[in-house]
Symmetry: C2
Protein backbone atom coordinates (compact mmCIF):
# COMPACT_ATOMS: atom_id res chain seq x y z
CA UNK A 1 0.00 0.00 0.00
CA UNK A 2 2.78 2.44 0.86
CA UNK A 3 4.33 1.71 -2.52
CA UNK A 4 1.08 2.63 -4.25
CA UNK A 5 0.66 5.74 -2.10
CA UNK A 6 4.07 6.85 -3.28
CA UNK A 7 3.06 6.31 -6.90
CA UNK A 8 -0.25 8.18 -6.65
CA UNK A 9 1.28 10.93 -4.54
CA UNK A 10 -1.26 10.82 -1.74
CA UNK A 11 -0.98 9.33 1.76
CA UNK A 12 -4.21 8.05 3.22
CA UNK A 13 -5.24 8.72 6.81
CA UNK A 14 -7.70 5.86 6.53
CA UNK A 15 -5.73 3.12 4.76
CA UNK A 16 -8.84 0.92 4.77
CA UNK A 17 -10.34 3.17 2.10
CA UNK A 18 -7.53 2.54 -0.34
CA UNK A 19 -7.73 -1.18 0.40
CA UNK A 20 -11.48 -1.16 -0.28
CA UNK A 21 -10.95 0.69 -3.57
CA UNK A 22 -8.64 -2.09 -4.72
CA UNK A 23 -10.79 -5.03 -3.68
CA UNK A 24 -12.79 -6.91 -6.30
CA UNK A 25 -16.15 -8.37 -5.18
CA UNK A 26 -14.79 -11.85 -5.98
CA UNK A 27 -12.41 -11.33 -3.05
CA UNK A 28 -14.79 -9.56 -0.66
CA UNK A 29 -18.30 -8.74 -1.81
CA UNK A 30 -19.02 -6.24 0.98
CA UNK A 31 -15.85 -4.17 1.29
CA UNK A 32 -15.20 -3.93 -2.42
CA UNK A 33 -14.59 -1.08 -4.84
CA UNK A 34 -18.16 -0.73 -6.13
CA UNK A 35 -19.50 2.03 -3.90
CA UNK A 36 -16.26 3.99 -4.16
CA UNK A 37 -16.39 3.63 -7.95
CA UNK A 38 -19.86 5.23 -7.92
CA UNK A 39 -18.45 8.13 -5.92
CA UNK A 40 -15.25 8.43 -7.94
CA UNK A 41 -17.22 8.45 -11.17
CA UNK A 42 -19.25 11.56 -10.29
CA UNK A 43 -16.27 13.34 -8.73
CA UNK A 44 -14.08 12.64 -11.79
CA UNK A 45 -16.77 13.85 -14.16
CA UNK A 46 -17.23 17.08 -12.22
CA UNK A 47 -13.52 17.83 -11.84
CA UNK A 48 -12.79 17.17 -15.51
CA UNK A 49 -15.92 19.05 -16.61
CA UNK A 50 -15.17 22.13 -14.50
CA UNK A 51 -11.52 22.10 -15.61
CA UNK A 52 -12.41 21.96 -19.31
CA UNK A 53 -15.15 24.57 -18.92
CA UNK A 54 -12.62 27.04 -17.51
CA UNK A 55 -9.76 26.10 -19.78
CA UNK A 56 -11.79 26.54 -22.99
CA UNK A 57 -13.89 29.66 -22.44
CA UNK A 58 -14.79 29.90 -26.11
CA UNK A 59 -15.66 26.26 -26.76
CA UNK A 60 -19.23 25.18 -27.30
CA UNK A 61 -20.89 22.51 -25.23
CA UNK A 62 -20.57 19.73 -27.80
CA UNK A 63 -16.78 20.24 -27.92
CA UNK A 64 -16.65 20.17 -24.11
CA UNK A 65 -18.78 17.00 -23.96
CA UNK A 66 -16.62 15.22 -26.54
CA UNK A 67 -13.38 16.31 -24.89
CA UNK A 68 -14.63 15.18 -21.50
CA UNK A 69 -15.37 11.77 -23.04
CA UNK A 70 -11.73 11.54 -24.07
CA UNK A 71 -10.64 11.87 -20.42
CA UNK A 72 -13.27 9.78 -18.66
CA UNK A 73 -13.90 6.86 -21.03
CA UNK A 74 -13.15 3.37 -19.73
CA UNK A 75 -10.43 2.65 -22.28
CA UNK A 76 -8.42 5.72 -21.31
CA UNK A 77 -8.92 5.14 -17.58
CA UNK A 78 -7.78 1.53 -17.97
CA UNK A 79 -4.55 2.87 -19.48
CA UNK A 80 -4.12 5.28 -16.58
CA UNK A 81 -4.46 2.23 -14.31
CA UNK A 82 -1.76 0.43 -16.28
CA UNK A 83 0.60 3.38 -15.88
CA UNK A 84 -0.02 3.39 -12.12
CA UNK A 85 0.46 -0.41 -12.16
CA UNK A 86 -2.76 -0.74 -10.19
CA UNK A 87 -3.13 -4.40 -11.18
CA UNK A 88 -0.23 -5.23 -8.84
CA UNK A 89 -2.25 -4.01 -5.85
CA UNK A 90 -5.70 -5.33 -6.71
CA UNK A 91 -7.17 -8.07 -4.54
CA UNK A 92 -9.08 -10.32 -6.89
CA UNK A 93 -9.90 -13.98 -7.38
CA UNK A 94 -9.89 -15.41 -10.88
CA UNK A 95 -9.81 -13.13 -13.87
CA UNK A 96 -7.51 -10.15 -14.23
CA UNK A 97 -9.96 -7.25 -13.99
CA UNK A 98 -10.32 -4.16 -16.13
CA UNK A 99 -8.61 -1.32 -14.36
CA UNK A 100 -10.88 1.64 -15.14
CA UNK A 101 -13.25 0.80 -12.27
CA UNK A 102 -10.37 0.68 -9.81
CA UNK A 103 -9.03 4.03 -10.99
CA UNK A 104 -12.45 5.58 -10.37
CA UNK A 105 -12.65 3.86 -6.98
CA UNK A 106 -9.22 5.23 -6.01
CA UNK A 107 -10.48 8.72 -6.93
CA UNK A 108 -13.54 8.11 -4.73
CA UNK A 109 -11.29 6.98 -1.88
CA UNK A 110 -8.99 10.00 -2.17
CA UNK A 111 -12.02 12.31 -2.22
CA UNK A 112 -13.51 10.70 0.90
CA UNK A 113 -10.21 10.71 2.75
CA UNK A 114 -8.67 13.96 1.57
CA UNK A 115 -11.46 16.00 0.02
CA UNK A 116 -11.93 17.73 -3.31
CA UNK A 117 -8.47 19.36 -3.46
CA UNK A 118 -6.59 16.09 -3.19
CA UNK A 119 -8.87 14.31 -5.67
CA UNK A 120 -8.32 17.22 -8.05
CA UNK A 121 -4.54 17.03 -7.64
CA UNK A 122 -4.58 13.32 -8.51
CA UNK A 123 -6.79 13.88 -11.55
CA UNK A 124 -4.69 16.77 -12.82
CA UNK A 125 -1.49 14.77 -12.41
CA UNK A 126 -2.56 11.45 -13.94
CA UNK A 127 -5.64 12.05 -16.07
CA UNK A 128 -5.57 15.64 -17.33
CA UNK A 129 -1.80 15.58 -17.89
CA UNK A 130 -2.06 14.59 -21.55
CA UNK A 131 -3.48 16.59 -24.43
CA UNK A 132 -6.41 14.64 -25.83
CA UNK A 133 -8.62 15.08 -28.85
CA UNK A 134 -12.41 15.24 -28.43
CA UNK A 135 -14.12 11.90 -28.97
CA UNK A 136 -17.04 12.49 -31.26
CA UNK A 137 -20.15 10.50 -30.60
CA UNK A 138 -20.36 8.97 -34.08
CA UNK A 139 -23.54 7.11 -33.21
CA UNK A 140 -25.31 10.42 -32.57
CA UNK A 141 -23.89 11.99 -35.72
CA UNK A 142 -24.91 8.99 -37.83
CA UNK A 143 -28.39 9.08 -36.35
CA UNK A 144 -28.72 12.76 -37.23
CA UNK A 145 -27.44 12.14 -40.78
CA UNK A 146 -29.75 9.15 -41.33
CA UNK A 147 -32.72 11.20 -40.15
CA UNK A 148 -31.98 14.36 -42.09
CA UNK A 149 -30.73 12.88 -45.35
CA UNK A 150 -32.53 9.55 -45.65
CA UNK A 151 -35.51 9.98 -43.32
CA UNK A 152 -34.48 6.70 -41.72
CA UNK A 153 -32.52 5.36 -38.75
CA UNK A 154 -29.31 3.36 -38.54
CA UNK A 155 -29.69 -0.30 -37.54
CA UNK A 156 -26.93 -1.98 -35.50
CA UNK A 157 -26.51 -5.73 -35.75
CA UNK A 158 -24.36 -7.82 -33.44
CA UNK A 159 -22.47 -10.07 -35.84
CA UNK A 160 -20.18 -11.93 -33.48
CA UNK A 161 -19.41 -12.19 -29.79
CA UNK A 162 -16.20 -13.98 -28.87
CA UNK A 163 -13.89 -14.61 -25.95
CA UNK A 164 -14.21 -15.31 -22.22
CA UNK A 165 -16.20 -12.89 -19.97
CA UNK A 166 -13.21 -10.75 -19.01
CA UNK A 167 -11.87 -10.54 -22.56
CA UNK A 168 -14.88 -10.14 -24.81
CA UNK A 169 -14.67 -9.14 -28.44
CA UNK A 170 -17.78 -7.80 -30.14
CA UNK A 171 -18.25 -7.33 -33.88
CA UNK A 172 -21.01 -4.99 -35.01
CA UNK A 173 -22.40 -4.06 -38.38
CA UNK A 174 -24.41 -0.90 -38.99
CA UNK A 175 -26.50 0.05 -41.99
CA UNK A 176 -29.26 2.37 -43.02
CA UNK A 177 -32.30 0.46 -44.28
CA UNK A 178 -32.46 0.55 -48.09
CA UNK A 179 -28.88 1.79 -48.49
CA UNK A 180 -26.07 -0.47 -49.60
CA UNK A 181 -23.15 0.89 -47.58
CA UNK A 182 -22.24 -0.91 -44.36
CA UNK A 183 -19.98 0.02 -41.46
CA UNK A 184 -18.12 -2.56 -39.36
CA UNK A 185 -16.65 -2.24 -35.91
CA UNK A 186 -14.83 -4.44 -33.42
CA UNK A 187 -14.42 -3.56 -29.75
CA UNK A 188 -14.07 -4.93 -26.25
CA UNK A 189 -17.52 -3.62 -25.39
CA UNK A 190 -20.66 -3.07 -27.41
CA UNK A 191 -20.61 0.70 -27.32
CA UNK A 192 -17.06 0.93 -28.64
CA UNK A 193 -17.78 -1.57 -31.41
CA UNK A 194 -20.94 0.28 -32.46
CA UNK A 195 -19.12 3.60 -32.35
CA UNK A 196 -16.36 2.34 -34.65
CA UNK A 197 -18.95 0.88 -37.02
CA UNK A 198 -20.82 4.20 -37.06
CA UNK A 199 -17.61 6.12 -37.78
CA UNK A 200 -16.79 3.80 -40.68
CA UNK A 201 -20.28 4.07 -42.15
CA UNK A 202 -20.16 7.86 -41.89
CA UNK A 203 -16.91 7.93 -43.88
CA UNK A 204 -18.45 5.77 -46.59
CA UNK A 205 -21.65 7.79 -46.73
CA UNK A 206 -19.64 10.99 -47.02
CA UNK A 207 -17.87 9.57 -50.05
CA UNK A 208 -21.04 8.40 -51.80
CA UNK A 209 -23.44 11.21 -50.92
CA UNK A 210 -22.21 14.78 -51.48
CA UNK A 211 -25.28 16.12 -49.65
CA UNK A 212 -24.07 14.43 -46.46
CA UNK A 213 -20.56 15.81 -46.90
CA UNK A 214 -22.02 19.30 -47.15
CA UNK A 215 -24.14 18.76 -44.06
CA UNK A 216 -21.22 17.49 -41.97
CA UNK A 217 -18.88 20.26 -43.03
CA UNK A 218 -21.25 22.98 -41.97
CA UNK B 1 -34.58 38.59 -12.68
CA UNK B 2 -34.94 39.77 -9.10
CA UNK B 3 -38.21 37.90 -8.92
CA UNK B 4 -36.48 34.69 -10.01
CA UNK B 5 -33.59 35.29 -7.60
CA UNK B 6 -36.15 35.49 -4.81
CA UNK B 7 -37.69 32.19 -5.91
CA UNK B 8 -34.38 30.31 -6.19
CA UNK B 9 -33.03 31.87 -3.00
CA UNK B 10 -29.76 33.10 -4.43
CA UNK B 11 -28.69 36.61 -5.42
CA UNK B 12 -26.19 36.79 -8.25
CA UNK B 13 -23.18 39.07 -8.15
CA UNK B 14 -22.90 38.65 -11.92
CA UNK B 15 -26.50 38.97 -13.15
CA UNK B 16 -25.30 38.28 -16.70
CA UNK B 17 -24.72 34.66 -15.73
CA UNK B 18 -28.33 34.10 -14.75
CA UNK B 19 -29.44 35.82 -17.95
CA UNK B 20 -27.19 33.56 -20.01
CA UNK B 21 -28.55 30.46 -18.26
CA UNK B 22 -32.05 31.45 -19.32
CA UNK B 23 -31.30 32.29 -22.94
CA UNK B 24 -32.20 29.81 -25.66
CA UNK B 25 -29.87 29.70 -28.73
CA UNK B 26 -32.85 30.78 -30.89
CA UNK B 27 -32.64 34.12 -29.07
CA UNK B 28 -28.87 34.46 -28.85
CA UNK B 29 -26.67 31.66 -30.16
CA UNK B 30 -23.50 32.85 -28.39
CA UNK B 31 -24.63 33.88 -24.92
CA UNK B 32 -27.02 30.99 -24.43
CA UNK B 33 -27.50 28.32 -21.80
CA UNK B 34 -25.57 25.56 -23.51
CA UNK B 35 -22.14 25.90 -21.89
CA UNK B 36 -23.69 26.52 -18.48
CA UNK B 37 -25.84 23.43 -18.94
CA UNK B 38 -22.69 21.37 -19.52
CA UNK B 39 -21.24 22.75 -16.29
CA UNK B 40 -24.47 22.40 -14.30
CA UNK B 41 -24.88 18.81 -15.45
CA UNK B 42 -21.57 17.63 -13.98
CA UNK B 43 -21.98 19.70 -10.81
CA UNK B 44 -25.52 18.37 -10.26
CA UNK B 45 -24.42 14.79 -10.79
CA UNK B 46 -21.57 15.15 -8.31
CA UNK B 47 -23.61 16.90 -5.62
CA UNK B 48 -26.46 14.38 -5.85
CA UNK B 49 -24.03 11.44 -6.05
CA UNK B 50 -22.00 12.55 -3.03
CA UNK B 51 -25.16 13.28 -1.05
CA UNK B 52 -26.66 9.84 -1.73
CA UNK B 53 -23.35 8.08 -1.07
CA UNK B 54 -23.22 9.60 2.41
CA UNK B 55 -26.91 9.30 3.16
CA UNK B 56 -27.07 5.57 2.33
CA UNK B 57 -23.88 4.08 3.78
CA UNK B 58 -25.17 0.52 3.40
CA UNK B 59 -26.58 0.79 -0.13
CA UNK B 60 -24.85 -0.92 -3.01
CA UNK B 61 -23.74 0.93 -6.12
CA UNK B 62 -26.65 -0.18 -8.31
CA UNK B 63 -29.14 1.25 -5.80
CA UNK B 64 -27.16 4.51 -5.70
CA UNK B 65 -27.01 4.69 -9.50
CA UNK B 66 -30.76 4.10 -9.85
CA UNK B 67 -31.62 6.57 -7.11
CA UNK B 68 -29.37 9.21 -8.67
CA UNK B 69 -31.25 8.68 -11.96
CA UNK B 70 -34.47 9.54 -10.15
CA UNK B 71 -33.07 12.96 -9.19
CA UNK B 72 -31.19 13.93 -12.34
CA UNK B 73 -33.38 12.61 -15.18
CA UNK B 74 -34.76 15.15 -17.64
CA UNK B 75 -38.39 14.48 -16.78
CA UNK B 76 -37.87 15.21 -13.08
CA UNK B 77 -35.72 18.28 -13.77
CA UNK B 78 -38.37 19.64 -16.15
CA UNK B 79 -40.87 19.41 -13.28
CA UNK B 80 -38.47 21.24 -10.98
CA UNK B 81 -38.35 23.95 -13.64
CA UNK B 82 -42.14 24.11 -13.69
CA UNK B 83 -42.25 24.56 -9.92
CA UNK B 84 -39.73 27.40 -10.17
CA UNK B 85 -41.79 28.80 -13.07
CA UNK B 86 -38.60 29.11 -15.08
CA UNK B 87 -40.54 29.31 -18.35
CA UNK B 88 -41.63 32.84 -17.38
CA UNK B 89 -38.01 34.00 -17.40
CA UNK B 90 -36.68 32.16 -20.43
CA UNK B 91 -35.68 34.18 -23.49
CA UNK B 92 -36.66 32.09 -26.47
CA UNK B 93 -37.99 32.50 -29.97
CA UNK B 94 -40.60 30.05 -31.25
CA UNK B 95 -41.30 26.84 -29.40
CA UNK B 96 -41.76 26.64 -25.64
CA UNK B 97 -38.61 24.80 -24.58
CA UNK B 98 -38.14 21.86 -22.24
CA UNK B 99 -37.07 23.20 -18.90
CA UNK B 100 -34.57 20.55 -17.71
CA UNK B 101 -31.71 22.15 -19.65
CA UNK B 102 -32.42 25.54 -18.10
CA UNK B 103 -32.50 24.08 -14.60
CA UNK B 104 -29.06 22.55 -15.20
CA UNK B 105 -27.83 25.84 -16.66
CA UNK B 106 -29.06 27.75 -13.58
CA UNK B 107 -27.11 25.30 -11.41
CA UNK B 108 -24.03 25.95 -13.56
CA UNK B 109 -24.54 29.69 -13.19
CA UNK B 110 -24.95 29.50 -9.40
CA UNK B 111 -21.81 27.35 -9.16
CA UNK B 112 -19.78 29.81 -11.25
CA UNK B 113 -21.05 32.83 -9.36
CA UNK B 114 -21.31 31.48 -5.83
CA UNK B 115 -19.29 28.28 -5.73
CA UNK B 116 -20.04 24.73 -4.62
CA UNK B 117 -21.81 25.63 -1.36
CA UNK B 118 -24.46 27.77 -3.03
CA UNK B 119 -25.05 25.25 -5.82
CA UNK B 120 -25.42 22.58 -3.16
CA UNK B 121 -27.93 24.69 -1.21
CA UNK B 122 -30.05 25.15 -4.34
CA UNK B 123 -29.94 21.44 -5.19
CA UNK B 124 -30.82 20.40 -1.63
CA UNK B 125 -33.72 22.81 -1.53
CA UNK B 126 -35.32 22.14 -4.92
CA UNK B 127 -34.07 18.78 -6.16
CA UNK B 128 -33.20 16.61 -3.17
CA UNK B 129 -36.17 17.85 -1.14
CA UNK B 130 -38.48 15.01 -2.18
CA UNK B 131 -38.18 11.32 -1.38
CA UNK B 132 -37.76 9.47 -4.65
CA UNK B 133 -37.69 5.82 -5.60
CA UNK B 134 -34.75 4.40 -7.53
CA UNK B 135 -35.34 4.27 -11.28
CA UNK B 136 -34.31 0.83 -12.43
CA UNK B 137 -32.68 0.57 -15.77
CA UNK B 138 -35.12 -1.96 -17.24
CA UNK B 139 -33.27 -2.06 -20.54
CA UNK B 140 -30.18 -3.38 -18.74
CA UNK B 141 -32.20 -5.88 -16.73
CA UNK B 142 -34.01 -7.13 -19.83
CA UNK B 143 -30.71 -7.49 -21.65
CA UNK B 144 -29.31 -9.55 -18.79
CA UNK B 145 -32.42 -11.74 -18.67
CA UNK B 146 -32.47 -12.29 -22.45
CA UNK B 147 -28.80 -13.28 -22.36
CA UNK B 148 -28.96 -15.60 -19.36
CA UNK B 149 -32.32 -17.26 -19.98
CA UNK B 150 -32.71 -17.26 -23.77
CA UNK B 151 -29.14 -16.79 -24.99
CA UNK B 152 -30.47 -13.94 -27.11
CA UNK B 153 -30.81 -10.16 -27.09
CA UNK B 154 -33.85 -7.89 -26.98
CA UNK B 155 -34.70 -6.07 -30.21
CA UNK B 156 -36.27 -2.60 -30.04
CA UNK B 157 -38.41 -1.42 -32.91
CA UNK B 158 -39.59 2.15 -33.41
CA UNK B 159 -43.26 1.71 -34.30
CA UNK B 160 -44.41 5.30 -34.51
CA UNK B 161 -43.03 8.82 -34.23
CA UNK B 162 -45.58 11.60 -33.90
CA UNK B 163 -45.88 15.27 -33.06
CA UNK B 164 -43.91 18.47 -33.76
CA UNK B 165 -40.19 18.69 -32.80
CA UNK B 166 -40.80 20.12 -29.34
CA UNK B 167 -43.60 17.71 -28.51
CA UNK B 168 -42.54 14.35 -29.88
CA UNK B 169 -44.23 11.09 -29.03
CA UNK B 170 -42.38 7.84 -29.68
CA UNK B 171 -43.90 4.36 -29.64
CA UNK B 172 -41.52 1.44 -29.23
CA UNK B 173 -41.98 -2.30 -29.31
CA UNK B 174 -39.48 -4.73 -27.82
CA UNK B 175 -39.23 -8.47 -28.23
CA UNK B 176 -36.82 -11.31 -27.86
CA UNK B 177 -36.24 -13.11 -31.16
CA UNK B 178 -38.18 -16.39 -31.27
CA UNK B 179 -40.36 -15.52 -28.25
CA UNK B 180 -43.96 -14.47 -28.62
CA UNK B 181 -44.26 -11.90 -25.81
CA UNK B 182 -43.95 -8.24 -26.74
CA UNK B 183 -43.51 -5.08 -24.65
CA UNK B 184 -44.83 -1.68 -25.72
CA UNK B 185 -43.82 1.76 -24.56
CA UNK B 186 -44.73 5.35 -25.34
CA UNK B 187 -42.61 8.30 -24.28
CA UNK B 188 -41.54 11.83 -25.14
CA UNK B 189 -38.05 10.60 -25.96
CA UNK B 190 -36.71 7.33 -27.29
CA UNK B 191 -34.98 6.22 -24.13
CA UNK B 192 -38.10 6.63 -21.99
CA UNK B 193 -40.26 4.80 -24.53
CA UNK B 194 -37.77 1.92 -24.76
CA UNK B 195 -37.49 1.75 -20.98
CA UNK B 196 -41.26 1.47 -20.55
CA UNK B 197 -41.42 -1.19 -23.26
CA UNK B 198 -38.63 -3.14 -21.53
CA UNK B 199 -40.39 -2.90 -18.17
CA UNK B 200 -43.62 -4.23 -19.71
CA UNK B 201 -41.86 -7.10 -21.46
CA UNK B 202 -40.08 -8.04 -18.23
CA UNK B 203 -43.42 -8.27 -16.41
CA UNK B 204 -44.82 -10.52 -19.13
CA UNK B 205 -41.74 -12.73 -19.23
CA UNK B 206 -41.85 -13.12 -15.45
CA UNK B 207 -45.40 -14.37 -15.72
CA UNK B 208 -44.69 -16.88 -18.49
CA UNK B 209 -41.25 -18.12 -17.46
CA UNK B 210 -40.82 -19.18 -13.83
CA UNK B 211 -37.05 -19.47 -14.38
CA UNK B 212 -36.90 -15.72 -15.04
CA UNK B 213 -38.96 -14.96 -11.96
CA UNK B 214 -36.52 -16.95 -9.87
CA UNK B 215 -33.57 -15.16 -11.42
CA UNK B 216 -35.04 -11.69 -10.82
CA UNK B 217 -36.03 -12.40 -7.26
CA UNK B 218 -32.56 -13.46 -6.27
Amino acid sequence: MEKLEAVIGYTFRRKKLLEEALTHPSYDSVYCYERLEFLGDVVLDAIVGIYLFKRYPEADESFLTDLKSAYVNSHYLHNVGMILKIQEFVRCINQPPKLDNFVEAVIGAIYLDGGWKNAEAFIKRFILDREMKPISNYKNILFMVAKKCFNSEPVYILVKEEGPPHKKKYTFKVKIPGKKVVGNGIGSNKKDAEMIAAEQLLLKIKKHYPVVRDLLEK
